[in-house]
């Protein structure tokens, strides 16, 4: 089982780092369905894997200056506060209703991503939190600002609030918020989302650790595989065309739509 978990984790880590998601939404079903691992141990291992993805990808993205740390911090205040108050939302909404809502919402997000300009295109209108990075693919300096920060922050708060209820890190929500709502180039969005999912998962992982709900026989091979896969994924992600990343993310959203709809229907 060690080798199988290690190899699967390489693929999950590569995909997570490439698309700015922690990968929890993939890891938990894989562990419970394929390996018959109890759900709590699966979530514990998944939280460790999200942190491993974030840390390994962060080490690579830090070398290319793609992460918008200041924006990540502002949004992280929203997502962490949202996660902290998630219990309040749980009183009004069941996970099943939420999954149904996401199944309806995600196709709209998927189509709205079609409008995204390529990272290589000029971005004349700068908003606030102006910054720039050098694209490792083109070697050109990309300047950009952040638009609609209050709306983005509010959405991040709601995303943090809901992600706890669905047991996910929220990377698949962060990426559309930053790219579609706030006008951040996709590569910078992915690197910044990778930064954020690590913070979201760390608190939950510490809680799981102190409650003894992390099984080293599952978490360790997964963490080792992720460390390898995430470094590969982030290296390729920084050097890929932004349009390729956009299409891959749209495919991911399509799969998530089916997954959420299935869970909402079957409970």
């Amino acid at each position: 089982m060690f080798i199988a978990l290690f190899l699967i984790a390489i693929a999950v880590g590569a995909l997570g780092a490439l698309l700015g998601i922690g990968g929890g939404i993939i890891t938990v079903p894989l562990l419970t369905v394929l390996f018959h691992i109890p759900i709590k141990a699966a979530i514990g291992a998944s939280l460790v894997s999200v942190i491993a993805t974030s840390t390994a990808a962060g080490a690579v993205y830090a070398g290319s200056s793609l992460t918008h740390t200041r924006l990540g911090m502002v949004l992280a205040v929203g997502t962490t506060l949202g996660a902290l108050t998630g219990g309040l939302t749980a009183a009004f909404l069941s996970p099943r209703v939420l999954q149904g809502m996401f199944a309806v919402l995600l196709p709209f997000v998927m189509f709205s991503m079609r409008q995204l300009p390529s990272d290589e295109a000029a971005r004349p209108s700068l908003g606030i939190l102006n910054t720039a990075y050098m694209d490792p693919f083109t070697g050109r300096v990309v300047r950009y600002g952040v638009r609609r920060l209050p709306l983005g922050w509010t959405t991040a708060f709601i995303a943090g609030n809901l992600s706890g209820l669905l047991g996910v890190g929220g990377g698949f929500i962060n990426v559309p918020i930053m790219s579609v709502v706030m006008g951040v180039p996709l590569k910078a969005t992915i690197a910044t989302s990778n930064f954020m999912v690590g913070m979201t998962a760390a608190t939950s992982a510490l809680v799981y650790y102190t409650k003894g709900m992390i099984d080293p026989q599952v978490a360790v091979p997964i963490a080792l595989g992720i460390l390898v896969g995430a470094q590969l994924g982030s290296w390729f992600g920084a050097r890929a065309r932004s349009m390729t990343l956009k299409r891959l993310f749209q495919i991911l959203l399509f799969i998530l739509t089916i997954q959420m709809a299935w869970k909402a229907i079957t409970g």
Binding site: A52, A59, M73, V77, A83, T131, A205, D215, Q217
Partner: protein, 136 residues
């Protein structure tokens, strides 16, 4: 905020080819690089330490034919743990706290640049994370 020596921080960009209008962009890249350098060192250190502990624990377990350990040692139990159990637990702790170390690294990097607004925002994020841990 302090003006940064971007020629030193981003030597891979050909400064001659960039117009004066891009001064702000260069400052932004230099600012990110300065924070990222510290963060990158911290993250690489945590990755190497946790990977070495995991591999050493796995090799120990396999070579000594020890039964698999399915629980982690709590921080108060670490002095009593031994063998692969101790190595796996320490590796997991190092990995799990890496996002917190990253935040501290960011706070130090931003403080060096005199960006106190974002130092405070970083500390707020850390405080909310610890509040979450306390609530459990």
């Amino acid at each position: 905020m302090k003006q940064l020596d971007y020629a030193r921080l981003i030597p891979d960009i050909d400064i001659e080819e960039i117009s004066e209008e891009d001064e702000a962009a260069l400052q932004a890249i230099a600012s990110t690089r300065q924070v990222d350098r510290l963060v990158q060192r911290l993250l690489m250190a945590t990755l190497i330490i946790s990977a070495v502990l995991f591999i050493a624990g796995g090799v120990w377990q396999a070579v000594a034919h020890l039964p698999p350990v399915h629980h982690v040692a709590q921080i108060t139990e670490l002095t009593h743990a031994n063998g692969p159990d101790l190595l796996f637990s320490l590796g997991l702790i190092v990995l799990i706290i890496s996002p917190i170390l990253r935040l501290l690294g960011v706070a130090v990097g931003l403080a060096r640049q005199g960006d106190w607004v974002f130092v405070v925002i970083t500390l707020i994020v850390l405080a909310v994370m610890f509040a979450g841990l306390w609530i459990g």
